[in-house]
């Protein structure tokens, strides 16, 4: 596998993770790009590439938030809801649902968000443990708690079908 194949294979997952984590498409694109540029300078064994990319990307997310001093706003940077008068009902409902998901994500700690989003991207527990910095044996318990916390908030917003 050459670097182009690697880029094609991993970029969508990294971008999606960053987009969901930050709520900011531009930030996700810039950070994913920077992570791959850094990877270019850091040839790694295949098994280490994906955790390394996500770790670097997460550090870049923190750096960006620190510099901009708007860490909370990153998560809530979803496009503003427009007037219900100008949108079909289903669009308004969909946007409200997205807002509920973002709100539930924002209510979690950074670690819980990472746990849920990395699991969603199909990471193995050992990889999650390496990126998050916890014991691999604890990952199942931590994810189970994060799932409950997310769903509690999400349901409380009345967004369950």
């Amino acid at each position: 596998m050459d670097f182009d194949d690697l880029f094609q294979g991993l970029y969508p997952s990294l971008y999606r993770y960053l987009h969901r984590l930050t709520g900011d498409a531009d930030a996700a694109e810039d950070i994913a790009q920077e992570a791959f540029v850094r990877l270019l300078r850091q040839p790694l064994p295949e098994s280490e590439v994906r955790p390394w990319l996500f770790t670097v990307a997460m550090n870049l997310v923190r750096d960006r938030a620190r510099k901009l001093d708007r860490r909370q706003r990153l998560l809530s940077a979803a496009p503003p809801l427009v007037s219900a008068m100008s949108r079909p009902d289903e669009d308004v409902e969909r946007m409200e649902r997205v807002a509920s998901v973002r709100s539930a994500l924002e209510s979690l700690s950074e670690r819980d968000r990472q746990l849920l989003l990395m699991r969603e991207e199909g990471f193995k527990y050992e990889e999650i443990a390496n990126v998050i910095g916890v014991a691999p044996a604890s990952v199942g318990t931590l994810i189970a708690r994060a799932l409950r916390r997310f769903v509690e908030v999400y349901r409380a917003r009345g967004s369950v079908e």
Binding site: Y11, A32, V37, R41, L44, E48, G122, G140
Partner: protein
Amino acid sequence: MTHAENGTLLSYLDGELAGPQARTLEGHLASCGACREDLEGLRGLAAEVSRALGLIPVEVPLAEARARFARERAAGNPPEPAWPARPWRFATAGLLKAAAIVLLVAGAVSAAIPGSPVRRWAVALLLRAGVGDAPAPVQVAEPPAPATSGTAGQTGAVSTFGLPVQGGQVRVSVRAADPEARIVVRQVDGEGGIHSTSPTEILRYRTGPGWVDVLDVRSGVVIEIPKTLRGATIEVNGQVFWKKDVDGLHILQPTVQDSGDESVFRARS
């Protein structure tokens, strides 16, 4: 055994428990209704979170990103060491498992191509695309990363998969499989169903909007794919075997046997 912790149950659902631990837990689940209830509760929570996260619209700007990356790379920013590095090659070789998988594509799939027997269109598609030269990938929901990459010339455990059409749906039917085999089905639209073919075994899988990732196929599994969907791919151990797009059905791996009713594939992982 005392009641299982939620972390243990989720690890089991996610395919993270080692074989002996999983067998021990299964023994406990067989006799403990409370833990079975907890297990199903966790499965429901995980599915609800996956559905919720899938509501966030994410359009991956892959083409733009590749172009941007190529520009930066061409501009020599940054200076590059050799890539892939030697450790990469060693690691890749070390990851190549000696496992072979046989995929059966039942002739009924050809119902989606009126008047075109499986053999003829499969051969035609393979000739058109070239063996191993897959057409451009269909835009389907992005998957968990594939488990392994393919190579040639190795054999090992064999699994058998069928793709019959029953009741108006295409099905992925696993009848006998290497426990390490991993099947991922991705769909552009529609909702697929999934269930175990064993009344006693617990099925372990992950699912989200547009994808199903089967983690343990030893007990047998059926994944139902709506016939009317616009696009889908079926992967086994990271190799795409079948896809449907606006141009029709495509077999993306060379056949090792073709009876007209069934096309047989061998995947190396």
